[in-house]
């Protein structure tokens, strides 16, 4: 019983890593391996966070560039709020292209067909 309460509380804390975001859902979502992945969090207001630090969007290029040079197989995963204006994501993608980070993934947990995607 105590263990259960412990796990229930840790589930909530894991979501707090980074900004609070409400991820979109997908039907075709594939498993993205956690190793080799750096997570970019973007909330509905367009704030960007990597490694729990809120950063200016232009810092994506140097930060990811540095990580990429240490790990050329790096995958950049976008954990973006579904209400975020696409312009922010598009700008982030441009910075990633500048950093030559071409492997990206848009995180969207799978739901079964018929469930609510919105």
């Amino acid at each position: 019983m105590l263990l259960m309460i412990f796990f229930m509380s840790t589930v909530i804390f894991r979501m707090d890593n980074g900004l609070p975001v409400s991820l979109p859902r997908s039907e075709a979502g594939q498993h993205v391996p956690r190793e080799n992945t750096v997570r970019i969090w973007i909330d509905a207001g367009g704030r960007v966070s990597i490694d729990d630090n809120i950063i200016d969007i232009s810092e994506i290029e140097p930060i990811i560039g540095a990580k990429l040079s240490r790990n050329p197989a790096l995958i950049v995963s976008f954990n973006t709020d579904r209400k975020c204006p696409y312009a922010v994501v598009s700008q982030a993608i441009d910075y990633l292209k500048d950093a030559n980070a071409v492997r990206v993934a848009f995180m969207a947990p799978r739901i079964e067909r018929g469930g609510s995607l919105d």
């Binding site: 589930v11 075709a28 993205v32 956690r34 696409y86 030559n100 990206v104 947990p109 919105d118």
Partner: protein
């Protein structure tokens, strides 16, 4: 006064199973934390400086996601859930097809993912993500 001695009530709900229930819930929470953030739609972006590949217009399916979330395929408005069927057919007719997914900057990101999801369901492999600039129509 006669005190009616009541038989000690045997428990109606067998308490032994609360441990089982707790255990099941525990396993459930362990399992759900692992799966939820690990699924997504992978994509390979073109590298900056890669030579621009010229693609003939007939080999491009232009999907535009507008500011209000409306989706058009080659300028025709379609319901978003029909995109995968439409693209699947287009690919069956032309396997060199490139899908150009253009999204309005003020459109919600969730909408773009919904359309990208449809493209993945249609097994589209050549996808190009762009910003939609309304002047080009």
């Amino acid at each position: 006064m006669r005190l009616v001695r009541r038989k000690r009530e045997s428990p109606e709900i067998p308490l032994a199973s609360t441990a089982d229930v707790a255990f099941l819930l525990l396993i459930f929470f362990i399992a759900t934390t692992v799966f939820s953030i690990d699924e997504g739609l992978p994509l390979i972006l073109p590298a900056r400086g890669a030579s621009v590949v010229k693609v003939s217009v007939k080999n491009v399916a232009r999907i535009v996601v507008h500011e209000d979330g409306a989706v058009t395929v080659d300028k025709k408005v379609v319901p978003v859930d029909s995109v995968s069927g439409i693209v699947r057919k287009m690919i069956a007719e032309n396997d060199k097809l490139v899908v150009s997914l253009e999204t309005h900057p003020r459109c919600r990101y969730g909408r773009m993912v919904r359309v990208l999801d449809q493209l993945k369901l249609a097994n589209a492999t050549r996808i190009s993500l762009r910003l939609y600039t309304p002047e080009t129509g």
